[in-house]
Every structure is written in C-alpha cells, then in structure tokens.
Symmetry: C2
Subunit: 144 residues, 2 copies
DNA sequence: TAAACTTGTAATAATATTTGTTACAGGTGT
DNA sequence: ACACCTGTAACAAATATTATTACAAGTTTA
C-alpha cells in the first residue's frame, strides 16, 4: 500500500506555479512537467482550489497561488488532495466475531492507537512548507 | 488509500493467541474470530513467524507466541506483516519531466521529507506493545 | 460574432492492489 | 491408515488508482 501520488503531484503543481510565476500555468503546461494527462491536473487543481490554495477560473488560462507558499504546509496539501481520510490511514478488518473477547474489543482498542500514529505523521507534514520545497529545488538547481 | 488490514489482523492474532493461551490456536480457530478465511490467517502467521514473533510447525496444530508480548510493539507487527515498504509510505509520481527545473528535482526534494514523516508514524507505533493491547481488551471485558 | 482556447466534470478504460477462495502437497499424531 | 494440521500456490473477486476521452460552458481576440 502506498498513499496516492496525488499528494506529490499536488506539491509539484504548487512548486511549479511558483517557479513559473511570470508565465501562465495551464493544466497542459503543468501536465507536461508532471508527465500526466491534463485532466488529472485539472482534477487536482480543483481540489487545491477547494482548499483555498490556488485561484483558477473557468475559461481563463492558468492557475495562480492563492496564498503565500510559506503559509502552505505539506499537511495542507495532503488534506487538500484528500489522500487519506481522517482516522483511516490504517484499515481495520471488519466484522470480527462478537462472540470472541478479542473480536468484540479489538476495534475499539486499536483505532485510537492508529489515530495517534496518524497524527504523528500529519504533524510531521505540518512542519514543512511548500516554500521549503521550492527553496530546496532552487538550491539544487544552482549547485548543478 | 489505506494501509492493509493485515496489520490489524496481525495484532488480533497475537492478542488472541495470548488470551487463548490455554487452548490451541489453529488457523481455523483464529479465522473464526477474525472472520476471514483460514488461508489468510496462515499467510499472516507465516509472516509473524518469519519475524520471530510466533512459533508454528507444519502438521502441528496451533500457533504459540515466541516472545513476551511486552517485547512486541505494534511497529514490530507492522514490519512483520509488511504492510508498508521502507520509504514507500507515500508514492511519488514517476517520470517527471527532466527538462523542467521542478520535474528534475522534485523527487530528490520530496522523498526525504516523506521519509521523515513515515518515521514519525513508525516511531509512534513503536511506543505501544501488544501487551498494552491485550490489557486494554481485558479491561474492557471486565467493565462490561 | 465566430474561432480558438481554456477550465470543470463526468464517463470510461486500463492498471494495480487487496482480499478471499480453492486445492493440495507434505508434516504430525492417533 | 486415517484424520487433522500447516505451508503455499493458483485463481478469482472486489477495490482503488491513474489515465483517457469527450464535451459543456466560460473567456479572449481577431
Ligand atoms: S476477531 Fe479480531 S481479535 Fe478475535
Ligand atoms: S514538478 Fe513534478 S514534473 Fe515538474
């Protein structure tokens, strides 16, 4: 199992809008960089827009950032593109046997533990901004 | 996306072997409690055995614990059942465009950040033992 | 106003992953 | 010999992910 690449693509999109800020970032342009279909990009941009991270308008070419990149954390992107439902990073087997002491309690016991772990993950994502990502890309470009 | 329930089933199996320690925990017995097919249980038990968490022998009915439950953390189970590959909790889109400054750097930039988050998750799982799970189940049973 | 281009969105297809099922070889104990 | 178990592989079914195609509706510009 792996968390959908929608997340990494979302980060990619935001970073590229920034780096291409003097140009026009259409879904086709972005798709060329990510190497996927423009419709995929439009769907993800729609999600980023829903979360207030970008501005786009039907008919008008190009997406723009709606916030400072330093205010957008990876956690914001992660939530925006909806790759993991709340409390559902780990799936738990359904319908355990209610006649078994373990079966009738395992879910209630395990779910909160899984939740703590999920929150630890998400907290970590919250410590990094997309600006950090862009700066790292710029640094890597300058060195090489 | 969700992490395979093999993980929760693995925890369930260990807990049930403990609670049924005076009985014989065959794959059929365990399957009845988890509510799945015995072959699924045998496959998972095989993984737990590979990690040294349980003892089973071909032909001999029943699985036994190979370690003290207090020494088995949820992280141990998680690794044993192989629900997430190392560094691959998050998938990253492949083949980004090497002619784009973002495309040619995004992977190298993002992967370490994802890794930090994954480790935070795993560290959290390492803080809880299967014994804690069993104790919680027992507590819940006694109250109700 | 028409043509050219865009976004938003849905329907569909292709692919991959997860889970369950069936079957059976080979081990063990009665 | 028989009944029972584990280990394992092959297969099937159910889900989820990603890509593709198509088109309505908005915008620009010529
Ligand atoms: S059914 Fe999950 S522990 Fe018994
Ligand atoms: S950022 Fe992923 S291809 Fe440009």
């Amino acid at each position: 199992m792996s968390i959908s690449s929608r997340f990494s693509v979302g980060i990619h999109i935001l970073a590229l809008i920034e780096i291409n800020k003097n140009g026009i970032s259409t879904s086709e342009f972005l798709a060329g960089s990510v190497n996927t279909n423009p419709a995929v990009i439009r769907k993800i941009i729609g999600m980023l827009k829903g979360a207030g991270l970008v501005k786009v308008q039907p008919g008008i070419a190009g997406a723009k950032l709606a916030m400072k990149l330093s205010d957008i954390t990876l956690f914001d992107v992660y939530k925006a593109v909806n790759v993991v439902q709340e409390k559902e990073l780990f799936s738990v087997h359904e319908n355990p046997n209610p006649d078994c002491p373990v079966g009738r309690n395992i879910q209630e016991t395990i779910v909160p533990l899984f939740e703590v772990a999920q929150i630890a993950l998400e907290k970590s994502l919250g410590n990094v901004s997309v600006e950090d990502v862009v700066n790292d890309i710029i640094k890597k470009e300058n060195i090489s």
